[in-house]
Amino acid sequence: MARRYDSHTTTFSPEGRLYQVEYAIEAISHAGAAVGLRTNEGVVLAAEKKILSKLLETSVASEKMCKLDDHVAVAVAGINSDANLLINSARLFAQRYAAGYSEPVPIEQLVHHLCDQKQGYTQFGGLRPFGVSFLFAGWDKSSGFQLYQSDPSGNYAGWTATAIGANNQAAQAILKSEYAPSMSLNAARKLALKVLKQTMDSTILMPEKVEMCEVARAHEVPSEKHIRFRMASDKELEELCGLANSATLPTS
């Protein structure tokens, strides 16, 4: 019965659901996990790489993380080609804002703009929704360090710590018990990988299978100039994976 209402993204089902949006969210639950944690020193994003092959060219561009502007980055879960379109749109929005106001774009403005775009595809045009969830990590002068999550429906919310993609409920559970807002950035990095280790299929965390980035202060003074986006180096990942593999999680 419900199938009659599936094909049109812009129509409600009799039970009041938007099936296409739900199917999009379902698609993302099969994608590589991404986890984000916010601290007073910065925001950390870590993600599981799904595309692994010795034949793959490790180019400059990453599979899961993307810089949107100097002070804001995203982690992607879902269909990468869909994500690329939205990322480009976000970058243009950030630059237009900066050109107009001579100020870096506030994070919520950017998230809001992107989510309005996603929402449009659930209401107009008869096109399918974007099959992407994002974790936004950034800093702005008015609200400091922020972490946001968005999904294909166009809904978004601010979080202190959250996860998207495969096994995100398990990740959220661990975060609920182990995350503390007063954590240092270093502790957050370790916890992020610890969480990923639990949600990924393998028993040992390999540095080639994960990516990590952060938006944090480069120096002590929290001015705009000293906030920067940084991808974790291979050496750093090796070290942190080693720690995650040797540590044991407390029994709940």
Partner: protein, 221 residues
Amino acid sequence: RAGGAAPESERVTKMSIMSYNGAAIIAMCGKECVAIASDLRFGINQQQTTAVDMKKIYKIHDHLYVGLSGLATDQATLAQRFKFRHNMYELRESRKMRPETFANLVSTVLYEKRFGPYYAEPIVAGLDATNGYKPFITGMDLIGAMAPTDNFVVCGNNEESLFGVCESMYKPDLEPEELFEVIAQCILAGVNRDCLSGWGGVVHVISKDKVITRTLKGRMD
């Protein structure tokens, strides 16, 4: 006509929109370095000097600077547009623009407004990191005609005067400190004969590993 002054209508002088605010910019090539210098005057309607710290040279990245003369509002707007374009380029291509590429971008942006142009004339100066940090400078007219050279380029209200000092003082293959001396003397001397530019100056000397920026004290008139 017998005696008497010409009627007022014949005495009105035509002002060029490029002289409304006033500017003088020079860029020079040295040995593995480039220098770009500008004056700091900002005037309104030619006569009234309103500021003596007007920015006319903008940093695009560590090895690329652009200086813009002409109408102040247009030069400031263009600087914003170039920053926008370079930021997008850097995000998409994960690399910084070569000076020559950037100069072509500037040329294209200006030519897009061929029949209603921005009243600004840019100078691009930088080092090509992909080619052994080779110096690159070029000047352009307001619709984007490039004139790359390996010695010096000038733009502003009193180009003839600037050309004159550069021709006499410039030497090829100067070291950064020598280049600074030459370009500083050129800009200060060049603006002395022009009432629309001057009131101090700023010089950036760009080398492979650092940029030295100095403010010049000149005649404040």
